[in-house]
């Protein structure tokens, strides 16, 4: 049945300015309570960042926030309000590959390529979170290399919170190891 609308909700909004995958997004009034994941999905139609648990535990909703100092971090968008990202620059899974002018993929990132070649994912619902976490890790190791012997432990620590129900994680982890080893300057001889 059609319900009676006794009063329309006044939903508080604020303008949101955010840069996603290198593109400044149109500044829009966005509800103050909105989570970033909903903004990506419903306002930007960027659905590669996935809703898993809504409580920040499975990490399928992870995006990368790029900081002015050149470092980056993972942020969970299902529990982080869209306005937290005001003025920030983020990368989502859609933004890693090189694309031509029409948006067709020319080349995958190293992490994506390794995931592909290792048959890392099955359903792939969690893959965006793993792509972002692994990318943050590789970039961190480029800035601050570790010894080769620390690599497996470092990968375990970096990806432990990400949940995958299909794969048992093995092919993700092996792919990240290869991605790190194929990226110059990420590991050093143990001192």
């Amino acid at each position: 049945m059609t319900t009676e609308q006794s009063k329309a909700a006044v939903i508080p909004t604020r303008p949101l300015k955010v840069t996603i995958n290198g593109e400044a997004q149109p500044i829009e009034d966005i509800p103050e309570e909105l989570m970033m994941l909903d903004y990506l999905h419903e306002y930007r139609n960027l659905t590669g960042t996935r809703f898993g648990c809504g409580r920040g535990m499975c990490r399928a909703c992870t995006v990368i926030v790029d900081k002015p100092d050149g470092s980056s971090e993972e942020v969970r968008t299902c529990i982080t309000g869209a306005h937290y990202f005001d003025g920030k620059t983020i990368r989502t899974v859609e933004g890693h590959a090189q694309r031509d002018e029409e948006g067709h993929i020319d080349a995958l990132s190293t992490v994506q390529q390794q995931f592909l070649e290792h048959f890392s994912f099955q359903c792939s619902y969690c893959a965006p979170g793993f792509v972002n976490a692994a990318t943050v890790l590789v970039e961190r190791l480029q800035r601050k290399p570790i010894s080769r012997s620390q690599l497996e432990g470092t990968i375990s620590e970096a990806l432990e919170s990400h949940i995958c129900r299909c794969t048992g994680y093995v092919r993700y982890f092996e792919a990240v190891r290869d991605a790190v080893l194929k990226t110059p300057g990420t590991t050093k001889e143990a001192s």
Binding site: T2, T3, L108, A127
Partner: protein
Amino acid sequence: MSRPSLSRRSFLKGSAVAGVTAYLAPLGSDAFGALFEDRVLSPTNEAWQLAEGKMRFRLDGIAKVTGSKVFARDIRAKDMPHWPDQQSHAFIIRATRCDHSLKGINLSRLEQAGLMPDQLVTAEDMKRDKIEVPRFFGPDFFLAKGDTAAYLGYPVAMLIYHDFARYRLAKSRIRFADDVVTYGEQTPLPEKPPYGAFRYIRVGGETPFAEDTFSALQETVLYPDFRKRHPVWPEALENGKNTEKAMFYAQQLQDKLANAPDDWLVFEGEYNSQYTDHFAMEADNANCWFDQSKGDMHVVCGTQSPQELVNWMPEVLSNSSFQSRRFFLHPAYTVGYGSKDATIFPYYGLIAALYADGKPVRLANDRFEQFQATMKRHPFTMKNRLAVDRETGKFQVFKQDLTANGGGRANFSNSVAFVGATAAQSIYYMPNSDLTATAIYSRMPEAGSFRGYGTLQTMSATELMVDEIAGQLNMDPIDLRLRNVFKSGMKNTQGAIPAGHLRNEEILHKARNHSIWTERETRKQAYETAHPEERYGVGFACVQKDFGHGAESAFSEVRLTPEGRIEVRNTGAEMGTGYSTGQAAVVAAWLGRAADQVRTAEMEWDDMQMYETTSPYFISQEEQNKSIKDPRWTPLLLQASSASNSAYYFSFPTLEAARIIFRHGLWPAAQEFWQRGIGGGQSAPYVVREENARWEAGHLTARGMEPLSLEFLAKRAHEMGLITGVISHAFNRWEWSRADYEINGRSENLPLDGLAVQYGIGASEAQKALMTSKRGYHLLTRKNPYIPPTQRNNAGVTYYSGCGTLVELAVHTGTGKVSVLNHHTFLECGNTLVEQLVSGQIQGGIAMGIGHALYEEMPLYEDGPGNGTWNINRYHVPRASEVAVWQQTSEILPPLSRTDPPKGIAEVVMIPIVGAIGNGIAHAIGHHFRSLPITPDKIREVL
């Protein structure tokens, strides 16, 4: 009660879609190609390594790793061509009490916040508009005022919003509010009779290979009536009807157990398997649009069984008072582990669209709703008795009485129960067995199809039991297994002889010689010395799991273009397992390389003019004999993508189609080339036979003949008017149907019950005149058909994959925490289609098995997921650190030959780790647990 359904699929039949025409267009199909970014599948030539004949990556891999829209969950109205852009949203509120009647709903919280829905849908709307739940899913869609919920989480109302912001805020305002659903008078907790019961009795002959004295396959399965919720069994009569004979032998076995000789050990134990959630990461969702102006219903959703929705949704529409004329289903890639097979959820999406004022509406569960509302794994209670000869270690009599709790909707509970029972023997030969399975109703949210499908529960119990018995006999557990291992040609507990050579004995020998097993005592000593607060243990278990539903069927089309492009179209759905990639690869056996184009979840096969009449599980032999005379009749048109059926059953018609193109297209084209020239050309000096044909790096050769590319052969086959396209249909009832077909004037007996062929562009006028079907095929008429007899329904299973797992673990004596240190798995699966996909299934299955063994569990009733407060903050899904991610290894047994069929393995791989962990814990601390999961609390209690 009436005889319970044996069928996982019987509900699909008899659903005339009166007045509503159904169409199906998967989101990966041409219809959406331009929309969904280069389509979901990459060009095969980028993925296929010609020289090695292997896939470099999965065809959907690039789309998936770049976050493209592959899931239904990713789709919004604006993504769909011809849909309006405005997207509405809906959610459901549910009853969380079964002890009071429903009074109504109280939306004052929303009213105060100005967040009332644009539409509110309740049971009253269903009644007024004649929207009836498909019988399989009963009871009703929504709880009516004055009624008491049959289960926790029963839908009460659906709220529809025409803008996202209000929807989102409204949902968060009332998420956990306990005053939204209001209750009236107190009522007794609901009770119902069991959904069904089955009993498989077998008394073997003198040897495992001799004729059985009695078996389900030879005589009958028992289906009891119920009085006051208790089964009523037939009278036991030695010379009575088959059902009475069954009871006579059951009594005989009971007497043997009761009066066992002194040299028998009669082991008795009750095993329990818990209630778990699939935790498929893509939660249930549907995006539907009812175009009121045209009467068109469009449904986008993820499903394992598109054919069910195509049959049943139009029926819901046609029975309703809505004026619907056409129904469009757009299945997307998805993931389910069973949860998207025969689920009621998409029907709520359909209902939402009917009430959304002509706007597309999206119904998408969040994780709390998913825990509350979706199907779960059946909790099992299994009372096992196993008599063993102490001297020989040989099993004598096995009796199991299992109860499967199906929750508030019956769903597949009956078949889960009987499939569980028929798997209970695990890898052992049981000379005498009496297995009773009962599926019961309860008020917990329903249980349904879930990876393992009853066998996880029963085989894990058997594997735990065997180790405990080995301990009581003071025998090595693998030795005890070897003494009883089921060998090729023996009969299972239904009296059927499984297909092919069973290789569990080989797995047992491999396990016995593996360092994890041979060094277990020295490793235990070393580990415990290094970690004084922990106890080290090694466990092993080995199972064989059926694959398939007992009635399997699929259509497949393989076409070769004049340019040598291979196109495959078939009925399976992509569930994340790599099905589309496997289907592309499978044709390489006959066509030299992978298919260039694969279309999955295709439901339009009018060219074949085939039809079905009744359930393949229930049809009488007499009716089958009558029906078979019509060459267009088949026992079953289509089967869902579940029960690990894709690798073998869905590949089968694809392979047969490719084989026909090879034999009647490519091979004659090659012969014509090799025989060119004086004196019979290059082939004359040799004897070149079809069996000498080999594809090498994409070129066909035979006994030293000049290698010819597929492109060349395809062009020639077309020019010569040879066969370049085939549509095939195959039916299997634990064996394949067969029939004679006349192909180019030659009669061939093929394992197909329907066949159509297409001749190349150079076909003669006479050939062209035969190609009259919609897609330009010549529909052949089968002769001398053989359809497996209906009695084979009682076989329960004949196709098995074997799998064994060794595990090393440590138990912390203070906390009771179990750490999985390492594991090694042995899998027998015939020839793999894509080896990396198989090994990925092993690794993923093991992780899920570890969850079942150690972590995953929920209360069944008021404190369980039906109350709407469950999420993964309290339901622990294994993380990488808990699965020995860097240490684990596995091996796939080499096939016996290149001709071994590929076997279904998606389920079997998760099972042995469960028993292995239980047995490893017993090795570590000396206690055999019989209830899963084995949590730190339970361990601390024992310690």
